[in-house]
Subunit: 398 residues, 2 copies
C-alpha cells in the first residue's frame, strides 16, 4: 500500500473512510472472477456493496423488498446514519408497522455503486493502485447499479424480490429492475421518477458538476490524495439542487420573504432572508456526509438514464411481457419529475400489457414529498403491498 | 490617484474600464451637491449614468419612452454592444418601424446604478479612494435605480415620460416608476415581472451569489484591485440562472437528450449532451462582459424588491390615484415570474382604480420570451403604445 496523505478527518477523509469501511453496515465482497460488468465496457473487480437489512427473510425467501436510494441517499434507510447521527432517510416508510412493514417484509437496502457510504465508488481505495479511485473510477449507469444489486441478491440467495421500491434516482433503479430482471420482480413501486432524464434536469445537474469542478480544492478530482476538499463547490451544487427538490409554493409557505432574525434588510450580502440561511445550511451540512466525486458520478448516471434508448427508442419494449405489478406514484408539485413523466411510464406499461396502478398525490411539497410525511403516499404503498402480498401468498410475520 | 494593479485586459479589467469610460454611450455626470439618496441611507456622490438615446425628442417633449433593462442587460438596447460586438438586446422591439418605433418616440435607455457598463457601480472607481468600489459600494435597490433615472430625466429636461417599458428586473423598475413618480408616467409596460421577488427566486439568486463568492478569485470582492477575476464562479452562477430563464419545454424542444457531435455517451464528464455544451457557452460568454460584484448587487436589488412592503403591506396603495395607463404582459411558460404574479399586479391596479390591460402570451419559451421573437408581444406593445399615443395627442414623427 502506498501511503496516502489525507485531509482533515472531519472533511473529505471522513467520507473516504466510510467509503471503504462503512460503520453499521453489512458488506458483500466480490473478488477476483466476480467482476461487475459496466455499461462503459469495463469490468470492475474487486468491488464491494455495503447494505442494510431489516426484518426477517421467510422460509420461502419470498418476502424480500429491495429499497433503492436516491442521489444523495444511502443504505441507512431506517436506522441511524453513522456520519450525521440522524434518523434513517425513510423511517416514515420503512420499519415495524410502517407501510413497508419490517414485521412482514425482509427489507434490503444497498448503497449504490459510485456512492460513498461503503459500496465501491470514486472515494474508495483502488487496491490496484493503493490510492483512492478519484476520476479513474469508471463512469457508471443506473443499469450498472442494478446489475450490482442483482449480484448482491445472488450473494444473499434471493431469486425473486417481492417488491422493489424507491423515489427519484431510486425510482429509476426500480424501473431498470423491471426492465432488466422482470422475472425477479414480483411488484414494483417507482415513485417521483422518469424513464429518462429531461434536458432541464441534465442542465441542473451540469451546473452542480461545474460548481464542484470550479472549486480549486477539487484538484482535478484528486482532492483525497492531496488533502484537499471542494467543500464550497459541493455546497453550491447542493444548494442549487435543493431548490429543485422543493416547490415555489412550499418555499413561499415555509419562508416567504421573511427576514432572518431581523425586521428590516441589512443592505448587505449576509443571509438577510430566512430562505438564504436555510439554503446555506443545506449546503454546509451536505458536504459533511458526501463525496464530491460521487456527486459527479451519480448525477451523470441519472443524466444517462434513458430506458427507451436502450430498447430501440420504444419505451414499451423495455417492459415487454412484464408480469410485474406496478404502482406508479407522482406528486402534483414535483417539477423535477412532473406527473407527465409518470404518465409516460404508465402509458408504456399499458402498451406492454402490464398490470399497473397510478396515483398522483396532491401536495405542495415538491419532489421531496416522497421523503416527507405524506399520509396518502403511505396509504397507497401499504395498500399496494397488501394486495401484492395476497397475490403472492405472503403470510404475516414471514 | 493611487496606482491600481489590474488583471488581464480581456478579463475583469476590461469590464472595469467599461464601467468608468463606457464606449458608444452618453454619460450624465452628477457631481457635488447632486447626490443619489439611497434606500440604505447613504448619499452616493459623485456618480454617473451611462445611457443611449434613439430617435428625436419632439418639441412638446412628450414622446419620451424610457426602457429599463434586466439583470444582465445594459443601455445598448438597439445598437451594437461595445464589448461583445453583438446587436442590441431588444432590437426586435426598439428601432425604426419596430413596436417601440424610434421614428415616433424618443427612446432613452440608461444603465442602472450598480451595473458595470458605465453607470456607477461596484466596478467603478471610487474617486474618494482612487480604487474600484468593490464591496464598499452601497447595496442598492430597484427604487434607487429609478431615483437615479428620474435625475437623468431632470438632467435631460424631460418632465413626463410618454411610456416606460421593461421586462424582468426592467419590469420591476417600470412598476417602481409608476409607484414613485405616477405623475411623470403617462403609460407603463411591465413585462414578465412581479411586485416582489418570491422565496424561490431569492433562493436561486442566493445560489448564484454563493457560486461567485465561493470562487477564491473573488478575493472577498477585491479582485479588481488584486488582478484576479472570479470567472468560474460567475460562469456557474450564470449557468444556473440561465436555466430559470427558459422552460422545460423549450429545453426539450431545443436540445432534448441529443448528444454533442456524437452518437453515444462518452462515459466521461465531457459535455456529452448538447444542453451541457450550450450552458457552458452561456457561462463563459457572460463573464466576458459582466462584473461579478455587479451581479451580486443587482440580484440583491431584485431580492429586496417588494412594492407592497413599502406601502404598509397593501399593494394597491402603491398605485393609489394612478393616472398611468398600464399594459401588463406575462408568458404562459415563465416559471420565474409566472402569470399569477402578473395577475396580482393587475388586481392591485384594479383595486387602485387604474386603467389596465393584461395579456398572457402563450409560448413555451419561458421567461426570456420577452427578449425573443414573439409576434404577439410585438403586436400588443405596438397596439398599446398606438392607443396611448392617440390619448396623449402624439403626432407621427414627433
Amino acid at each position: 500500500m502506498v501511503e496516502v496523505k489525507l485531509g482533515n478527518p472531519r472533511d473529505a477523509a471522513g467520507v473516504s473512510r466510510e467509503a471503504d469501511s462503512p460503520r453499521s453496515s453489512l458488506i458483500a465482497h466480490f473478488g477476483a472472477g466476480q467482476p461487475l460488468r459496466l455499461d462503459a465496457g469495463i469490468e470492475l473487480e474487486p468491488f464491494q456493496i455495503a447494505y442494510k437489512t431489516y426484518g426477517t427473510l421467510n422460509a420461502e425467501r419470498s418476502n424480500a423488498v429491495l429499497i433503492c436510494h436516491a442521489l444523495t441517499g444511502d443504505h441507512h434507510v431506517a436506522s441511524v446514519h453513522p456520519v450525521t447521527g440522524k434518523s434513517g432517510w425513510w423511517e416514515t416508510m420503512v420499519g415495524p408497522g410502517k407501510p413497508i412493514d419490517t414485521e412482514r417484509y425482509f427489507v434490503i437496502c444497498p448503497n449504490v455503486v459510485g456512492a460513498c457510504m461503503g459500496t465501491t465508488g470514486p472515494a474508495s481505495f483502488n487496491p490496484k493502485t493503493g490510492k483512492p479511485w478519484g476520476l479513474d473510477f469508471p463512469v457508471i449507469t443506473v443499469r450498472d447499479m442494478v446489475r450490482a444489486q442483482a449480484m448482491l441478491l445472488d450473494h444473499l440467495g434471493i431469486a425473486t424480490l417481492f417488491s422493489v421500491a424507491g423515489g427519484s434516482m431510486g425510482g429509476m433503479q426500480v424501473l431498470q429492475w423491471a426492465a432488466s430482471y422482470p422475472e425477479r420482480v414480483f411488484s414494483a413501486l417507482p415513485i417521483a421518477c422518469s424513464t429518462r432524464h429531461s434536458a432541464q434536469n441534465i442542465a441542473f445537474h451540469e451546473v452542480g458538476r461545474q460548481a464542484v469542478m470550479a472549486d480549486p480544492e477539487w484538484r482535478q478530482g484528486r482532492y483525497l490524495l492531496e488533502g484537499a476538499n471542494p467543500r464550497r463547490g459541493l455546497a453550491v451544487a447542493r444548494m442549487g439542487a435543493h431548490i429543485t427538490y422543493l416547490s415555489d409554493a412550499a418555499l413561499h409557505r415555509k419562508f416567504g420573504r421573511k427576514f432572518q432574525d431581523r425586521e428590516n434588510p441589512t443592505f448587505s450580502f449576509d443571509a438577510d432572508f430566512e430562505v438564504e440561511s436555510y439554503l446555506r445550511h443545506q449546503g454546509i451540512s451536505f458536504v459533511e456526509r458526501f463525496d464530491a466525486n460521487s456527486y459527479l458520478y451519480l448525477t451523470r448516471a441519472m443524466d444517462y438514464f434513458d430506458l427507451a434508448a436502450d430498447c430501440g427508442g420504444v419505451l414499451a419494449s423495455a417492459f415487454k411481457d412484464a408480469k410485474t405489478r406496478f404502482c406508479v406514484v407522482s406528486f402534483t408539485s414535483d417539477w423535477l419529475f412532473p406527473t407527465s413523466d409518470s404518465r409516460a411510464i404508465v402509458h408504456a406499461l399499458n402498451a406492454a400489457g402490464a398490470r399497473v396502478s397510478f396515483a398522483e398525490i396532491v401536495t405542495d411539497k415538491g419532489h421531496d414529498a416522497f421523503l416527507l410525511d405524506e399520509p396518502e403516499l403511505f396509504a397507497i404503498v401499504r395498500g399496494f403491498l397488501d394486495g401484492a402480498g395476497k397475490a403472492r401468498g405472503l403470510k404475516v410475520g414471514g
